[in-house]
């Protein structure tokens, strides 16, 4: 795992993220155990509990078709969890140079597989 991804303080709060194997898209672990594309729906973990949760989710990575599961430190804001690093803020929001490509972007013309 990229060392920058696991930049977490002893104190603090984190969320859990991964990429989906099939399409590569970013997902966040929600409170109901499902994976969501919106960080707003992510479950907050105290940093002391993240490692354990990661271990459990990593054990299921193949069956859940996920890759690169790791924890992201956040601050809690009115509009939801906000990652502390710019890298993770870009992952959560989409590329800054294409404001239209938000995590819930859909193709105007559905691709043939849709």
């Amino acid at each position: 795992m990229d060392r920058r991804n696991s930049r977490r303080d002893a104190e603090g709060t984190s969320v859990i993220t991964a990429n989906r194997l099939l399409d590569g898209r970013i997902v966040w672990l929600a409170a109901d155990g499902q994976w969501t594309t919106l960080i707003q729906d992510a479950k907050l973990y105290p940093n002391s509990a993240v490692e354990e949760a990661l271990k459990a989710r990593n054990a299921r990575a193949q069956e859940e078709a996920l890759v690169g599961i790791y924890g992201v430190q956040v601050t809690e804001t009115a509009s939801g969890p906000l990652p502390v690093t710019s890298r993770e803020r870009i992952r959560a929001a989409g590329p800054s140079v294409h404001p239209d490509f938000t995590p819930d972007w859909h193709a105007p013309h559905p691709a043939p597989y849709a």
């Binding site: 590569g24 078709a65 490509f101």
Partner: protein
């Protein structure tokens, strides 16, 4: 259509036959099988990753990215339309031209990839070895087959090297990636000294070419200028000699630390002389007959390339001169965006993919289709992607330039900035790339807007500005006259400036870091002050890089960090 090729062969690139097509289809089937084994769990992610990389598929920040090979940067109109189709159907309607003359798509799904590779194969394209620790796409001069100063067409040799290196049984799991570039003239337009192997060709005594061989150059976190191993390698030994270099590297390159695994580190560790001794020992011991490149093979490959069927010049030059006189904007574009052609009445044009405030190297599917149409109509169906992320039409009649320019202008491709400060080279950076420390594109856009004024750009003159989002240096910042390197300051983006780098033409140099990293806006302001310093301190006719070399970095450093 004003031109039609004399034969059915594509102009400018190798024409596939059924054997080549069978090869591609078998490889697509192999990848489909690998994807299925990954989904079933038979392949772990660790095992699958090098296999997908071998087919150009990365897992980036937001999605998979697919890098499609454009061998020696040349493709035909039909292939460009295939890329447009992929952008529209499987991606988000655009693609990004890279510094290795390839194209990448940023929003690809793994589950679509076998189908995409099939679509590519239908027009003789692939993504093989656009990533991974293998021999990558061989790059060549973007004015190949057209430049007035050309000695030989490097694309024929680039194709020979492409074929030889494609799924080479011994060299597909190298310590690290391996990049080869070849220039067809003594003017090095490929940055040969910044490659793992750089080849510069000239004509030998018997009319066959000989090659100067540079080894161990590169950028990345350890920028090094390559050393010359051979001055006069005969054509027939080209493959044998490269085999010998690669064998020494595969056997002895470091595998314990990916940051020290490139061939340049091995060459430095052994010393040029010892490295040369080992290559020579291998070269002497090998079965040379097996690897000999006979003239007949070169000619067989050359025969698969179509050649443009030029029309007489007529009054093309006079017509162009009149049009330039009548339209000042057109004149400025011709001045910056054209290159002399060996054929009277023709020139090569460079189409800027760097609009003011735009994303360097990005083109929409509609623009790709337009480029295909223009190539078909005006340049024998041939297009080239440059390592500076622009597009070249190699053979355009001078009296057609005005029509071409007007079509480009209407579609956001008419920028007259080739070689100027806004002709920025930038990697995708942290907006897309999983390795990046900082975003490259927003700072490129700010600089492009800041210097958008055409008169100001002309006043500043030739200037290479390169931006990399991390030390891997995909934006070649060390080779820029001004380089920008994105760094990570405790989770926040910051930028270092380098000065005095240069990529080619016999004066390759590595840019020097000016000082500590600054924020994005501070960096943009600092570069504006560096430019002001140049404008006030230059002597008559002195280019930016020359002023840098004459004055050294001190006055520019003072300007960059002046806060008053």
């Amino acid at each position: 259509m004003s031109h039609s090729p004399s034969a059915a062969l594509p102009v400018g690139h190798y024409a596939y036959d059924d054997v080549d097509r069978t090869f591609l289809k078998q490889r697509v089937a192999q990848f489909k099988d690998q994807v299925e084994r990954r989904l079933s769990g038979a392949l772990t992610e660790e095992e699958f990753k090098p296999l997908r990389l071998m087919n150009g598929l990365y897992l980036q920040l937001h999605a998979y990215m697919l890098r499609v090979a454009i061998p020696y940067g040349v493709l035909d109109a039909k292939q460009m339309r295939t890329l447009a189709h992929i952008a529209r159907t499987y991606d988000r309607d655009y693609g990004h031209f890279t510094t290795r003359q390839n194209i990448q798509f940023n929003w690809i799904r793994l589950e679509d990839t076998p189908e995409i590779l099939n679509v590519l194969a239908d027009t003789d394209m692939h993504a093989i070895q656009t990533s991974g620790n293998c021999i990558r796409n061989v790059t060549a001069d973007q004015f190949a087959g057209a430049a007035a100063d050309e000695v030989l067409d490097p694309r024929v040799y680039a194709e020979i090297l492409r074929q030889w290196s494609t799924l080479h049984p011994e060299f597909t799991f190298l310590p690290r990636k391996f990049k080869i570039a070849i220039s067809g003239s003594q003017q090095d337009r490929v940055a040969a000294r910044f490659h793992d192997i750089g080849l510069i060709s000239r004509e030998g005594e018997n009319g066959r070419p000989v090659f100067e061989v540079f080894v161990g150059g590169g950028l990345g976190r350890t920028p090094i200028i390559g050393v010359r191993l051979r001055d006069d390698l005969p054509e027939e030994d080209l493959i044998a000699y490269l085999e010998a270099v690669l064998r020494v590297y595969n056997a002895h390159g470091r595998r314990d630390n990916i940051y020290k695994a490139r061939i340049k580190i091995l060459v430095q560790a052994l010393g040029t002389e010892e490295f040369l001794n080992q290559v020579n020992a291998e070269f002497a011991a090998m079965d040379r007959a097996r690897y000999r490149l006979p003239e007949s093979t070169v000619e067989a490959i050359r025969a698969r390339f179509g050649a443009p069927d030029f029309a007489p010049a007529g009054n093309a030059a006079e017509k162009l001169a009149a049009q330039r006189k009548a339209d000042r904007a057109f004149d400025a574009w011709v001045h910056t965006n054209t290159h002399p052609h060996k054929q009277s009445g023709y020139c090569s044009i460079t189409i800027s993919c760097k609009p003011a405030g735009g994303i360097p190297g990005d083109v929409t599917s509609a623009q790709m289709d337009l480029l295909a149409d223009l190539a078909e109509r005006y340049s024998f169906g041939e297009l080239r992607i440059t390592h500076l992320q622009n597009v070249v039409l190699g053979h355009v009649r001078q009296d057609a330039l005005y029509d071409v320019w007007q079509a480009l202008e209407k579609n956001g491709l008419g920028e007259a900035n080739i070689g100027f400060i806004t002709d920025i080279v930038a990697c995708p950076g942290l907006d897309y790339c999983a390795l990046a420390n900082a975003r490259s594109i927003p700072i490129a856009q700010k600089l492009s807007s800041r210097f958008a004024n055409a008169d100001l750009q002309r006043e500043i003159g030739p200037l290479r500005l390169n931006i990399s989002g991390c030390i891997n240096a995909c934006g070649h910042h060390h080779a820029g006259h001004i380089g920008i390197l994105g760094v990570d300051k405790r989770g926040e983006e910051a930028f270092q400036i380098t000065l005095g780098g240069s990529a080619g033409d016999g004066d390759a140099s590595i840019g020097q870091i000016l000082g500590s990293a600054m924020s994005e806006d501070e960096t943009v302001d600092a570069i504006a002050r560096i430019i002001d310093t140049y404008l006030s301190r230059r002597t008559a006719g002195e280019r930016f890089i020359e002023t840098c070399r004459r004055l050294g970095t001190a006055p520019f450093k003072d300007a960059a960090y002046a806060t008053a």
